[in-house]
Symmetry: C3
Subunit: 270 residues, 3 copies
Amino acid sequence: MHPPVITFVSDYGLDDDFVGVCHGVIHAICPQARVIDLTHGVRRHDIGGGALILRQAIPYMPVGIHLAVVDPDVGAKRRAVALEVGDGRILVGPDNGLLWPAAQAAGGVVDAVDIASSPFRLEPVSATFHGRDIFAPVAAHLAAGASLQEAGEACDSDLLVRWLESRPTRRDGVLVSHALYVDRFGNVQLDVAHEDIRSSGLKLGTAVVLELPSGRSHDATYVRTFADVAPEQLIVYEDAYRRLAVAVSNGNAAEQLGVRIGEELRIRPQ
Amino acid sequence: MHPPVITFVSDYGLDDDFVGVCHGVIHAICPQARVIDLTHGVRRHDIGGGALILRQAIPYMPVGIHLAVVDPDVGAKRRAVALEVGDGRILVGPDNGLLWPAAQAAGGVVDAVDIASSPFRLEPVSATFHGRDIFAPVAAHLAAGASLQEAGEACDSDLLVRWLESRPTRRDGVLVSHALYVDRFGNVQLDVAHEDIRSSGLKLGTAVVLELPSGRSHDATYVRTFADVAPEQLIVYEDAYRRLAVAVSNGNAAEQLGVRIGEELRIRPQ
Amino acid sequence: MHPPVITFVSDYGLDDDFVGVCHGVIHAICPQARVIDLTHGVRRHDIGGGALILRQAIPYMPVGIHLAVVDPDVGAKRRAVALEVGDGRILVGPDNGLLWPAAQAAGGVVDAVDIASSPFRLEPVSATFHGRDIFAPVAAHLAAGASLQEAGEACDSDLLVRWLESRPTRRDGVLVSHALYVDRFGNVQLDVAHEDIRSSGLKLGTAVVLELPSGRSHDATYVRTFADVAPEQLIVYEDAYRRLAVAVSNGNAAEQLGVRIGEELRIRPQ
């Protein structure tokens, strides 16, 4: 028997004790649990960024309890939920779209409970730190073997808040994509999935032009990896999550191009 | 039997190997220990900030060994200590006030030893990294079952360095408080505890004026949580540690108000 | 029987999910493994900095699998390797010099395999995230008991890429050293080892002059620890890894002096 696993992603950062306190709460309830910190570097209140990270990372995580907290409306009316999904995982977090893409990717929601008044809550529940008072203790009790039904009240999964990602389109031979995520290296992930890349007709080693909302355009090359070009060169490549991305070899594409999350990037083959 | 727990807070940061090396030292001595990193983001040499975090977080931590290192006088004359407190926890760290508030909150010091010359030290002891050479190995041996007496020489707990927090006062209907801590979101925690809030007469939903040392004053509302007001609005609220705090919904209060730790904030009901 | 240990150092940072995903991959393969994060704050692509951290930290780590990823040429022709060293440790990472100093310090390479086509790889192997797809799974299988031979193909250890550190010299009574590393506190580690310090004739408490490439020079004192001087004073001291280092008590020496990694610092006794 392996110990139960709780994965944990949030926008809490590591400068304060938010994450450490949640670890303490989990350990006090379920000492045998192993907590894997996916990251706590999600941009503050960036539900879309957190949702993307969780969905992309979850296939690499052991099946377990998946705790996620990016919660700009903490203490207000948004629901707090635990969701069982098709492949047996349980997702715990605010019902603000954060869990939705991962839930879909992991087989869809099979069962849902509202945990706002869970018997597993730590009392008194604060108005501003539900990670500590609701989400972490519920996750810990579920890891320790509690059933979803014990964790909260049944809720209609059709009413869950959804998070829909942008999709690329094609216009006159140009691939119109959108920036989804920027990592610490300044690499910009686009909403162009593996299948979209295949059908785009892009050919390894060929030149493309990147057109930005500012009206500026930049020459780039479609390659496999950073080291395929000289330092400082702009590239388009299929990233480790099999999405099209933009990078500067040995540089920072997001800064250099001035790209922001959600912005349109047009890719024109040459 | 659950594995022993060591919690760990410091100002080491995570950019270097300081924390990782301490984990390695602990594991080599007590492989069964579980280490919970409370945070390593305490501001450099900020004994008060570290003391506050430890005291506030400790009720959420499993009873165990609690390692804390914020140590501006490492290698100089300050004592290194391990303290057993009333509720059975053991605190390990420099005797510079860092452990004091948590020790008081956890039942007061019951027994104290000076570990500067502990037989558990790693030799040669460096002059600048007692986390690795003294505190972590002592914590690990205590987690592995060593007694306090084996860890060092008895020392008089009356001589321990104390850390006294500021306290709010009332003058002419104005609550005179002080900034204790600023978190990554810029929320400013004040020295006004739950009981002080209750006796202050502040009423949820009412307006207050915040007066700063600069002479400037700002309108705010006393509410339960961030989402109770529109973005960018200044609020006063009872935070997750049940202390009065100041925040800007979706913004950074510390930056916007220019508040620094220790500064006086006067709260005037309207 | 203690659980197997995997230590992990990289330049991935903690803002994204790179590290968390590697933890997930490891756990899925070897749930009993304990992962110790040495640090993920190595400067981007700084092979020398990563190599130094790994070499200096490894004596404090339990014997186990030591995973290191600073990999500017990921996806290109550099080899990926697992190395067994004299003291029984196994090092896993790119063959770009990163592992070399630690391997030498731990008894020298005894056996080496090329893991680029390891049967333990995660398919499809991405071109840009070998941490997830090659290094972490190989480390996990080795931790779970696989042999080096199962992990890859034998390779000639004489062909491994080496990383040679700079060495100090003496000219006309002046110690000519080089900056190896700057930590979060701005302390500058030099390439002057314990034995070099002893033979340098430096005497505790005496004044020295630091001469920089810019032509500027600064008065400093050779002391044991920061607290031996007043705040803001420049010191030279033997650091926790027994190397000569430069610091400003309560300040940031690297910023104040404008020192960069690799630069020459001349230390002239007075």
